[in-house]
Symmetry: C2
Subunit: 275 residues, 2 copies
């Protein structure tokens, strides 16, 4: 399994406070040490940093910290390999062009059956189940719409293909085209939205803390999505199994609520808590 | 216009000696200051560094120098914008997945007519003629072959689509899938292959020099491709108009020789010197 981190905002925001806690889970506070990647949208362009070294000690991750890049949409991933060797082509997030936009995708979970890509143009470069799923999604979207449809149509189409792929295994993911961010939960995914009045936040993974009043302007809205909460004093919303959310300009704009379900110790699904 | 730099080798090689001369052309010894990008293949994966700042002074370019990444295939580009604003999505090299491989493309020139992409799935993300041409090439290759054909078939297909795109304007480019490197010349492109016996090289753009005997092993073969020669004491082969070359493991493996043609002061083509 792996861990996911996403950020969607209405003003370019520095993710370093969250990322510095998150990266400790790659070898210090947890064991997701098989490479990492982080993608920052900048206009329609994307800056990607990735390494097959553990994120907690990678010089490339130090470089990310150093530059304090501000972005409206960021997706990061620390890997604990289930399928595919530890190498650069197997590090998330994956990126493909869809409808003249960069689409960025990161996955946490394990698909026990791979989707059928035999007649697909989109093909995985590495050997992960995650990239195979993203290729299937890319092909699905491009076949349904030759040119970019409305955001509501995108929401519905991504939900439909996510339902299909969820049948193949555990499928938590974060996806962005630089304008919106979609999150889908099979087992573990949490989010929170920071807006005025701002307060302090204390990190889970070390003693780091921040007072957002020192940085934020009154109208700022910043949503953070993470496999497990990154701060200990804020209210994180836990997504349920099958939950599917779209964020834009830092706020939730559409949602399909999931169902509460037992998660077994190995991270797989048990019985539904609400039928 | 812009300038191109490519490297294809039979052993992972550090491009810093060449890159440090090349990047001075982005603001110091020449005026290609509208952003830069450099892509390093690492297995099937690619590490890309890009910035909309001049390469000569970009902190991202300093980062490239610092890490001394070794690679078999590298493509770099310094931009002097002709079409498209100066921003991240318009910086070369461009990258697309073709047949389950990363394909990386950088262009120097100006297409006065854009290729027709109206029924293409591959669409440009930015607004350059270069990315439009690469999308057209991607679509051409994927339509002709659903799965990866032989290298000879790839050579022939890329040549055919390059001939078509060359009719639209000046079309110097370097292209790689991480296994081979293809170079096409409309106006300016030079290359050399370094192999034993190795000697010294003195850079054109500053006082930098290197003795390759201090770094290379007897069997090493390294080809460097550049818009203009990067060293003053080595023999660079000047490609002619329409010249098309494939390099693999540091050596030329296939070639279509171009024709000598006058280049006017504005970089466009004049009369053929050899009919």
């Amino acid at each position: 399994m792996c861990q996911l981190l996403g950020m969607n905002c209405n003003t370019p925001t520095d993710i370093v406070f969250s990322f510095e806690g998150f990266r400790r889970r790659a070898g210090i506070t947890d064991c997701h040490s098989d490479g990492f990647g982080i993608a920052f949208f900048e206009g329609k362009g994307v800056r990607v940093f990735r390494d097959d070294k553990p994120c907690s000690s990678s010089p490339i991750a130090d470089c990310v910290k150093q530059y304090h890049i501000k972005s409206l949409n960021v997706i990061a991933h620390i890997r604990k390999a289930t399928q595919g060797n530890v190498n650069l082509e197997n590090t998330h997030p994956f990126m493909r062009e869809i409808w003249g936009e960069n689409w960025v995708f990161a996955h946490n979970g394990n698909l026990t059956t791979l989707p059928d890509l035999s007649d697909c143009r989109a093909q995985p470069i590495g050997t992960t189940d995650s990239e195979a799923a993203f290729c299937y999604m890319t092909e699905f979207l491009k076949r349904r719409y030759l040119r970019k449809p409305s955001e509501d149509e995108i929401f519905d189409a991504v939900y439909e293909v996510s339902q299909e792929l969820s049948k193949l295994g555990t499928f938590n993911f974060i996806l962005s085209n630089g304008q919106f961010m979609i999150a889908h939960c099979s087992t573990f995914l949490h989010y929170l939205t920071r807006k005025a009045p701002f307060g302090k936040a204390f990190r889970v993974d070390d003693d780091g803390f921040i007072d957002f009043n020192d940085y934020a302007k009154p109208g700022d809205k910043v949503t953070i999505i993470s496999t497990q909460p990154l701060t200990k004093n804020e209210h994180w919303t836990k997504m349920a199994h099958g939950g599917f959310v779209m964020f834009k300009d830092g706020e939730k704009v559409r949602e399909i609520v999931g169902v509460e379900q037992e998660i077994k110790d190995d991270g797989t699904l048990g019985n539904m808590k609400i039928a």
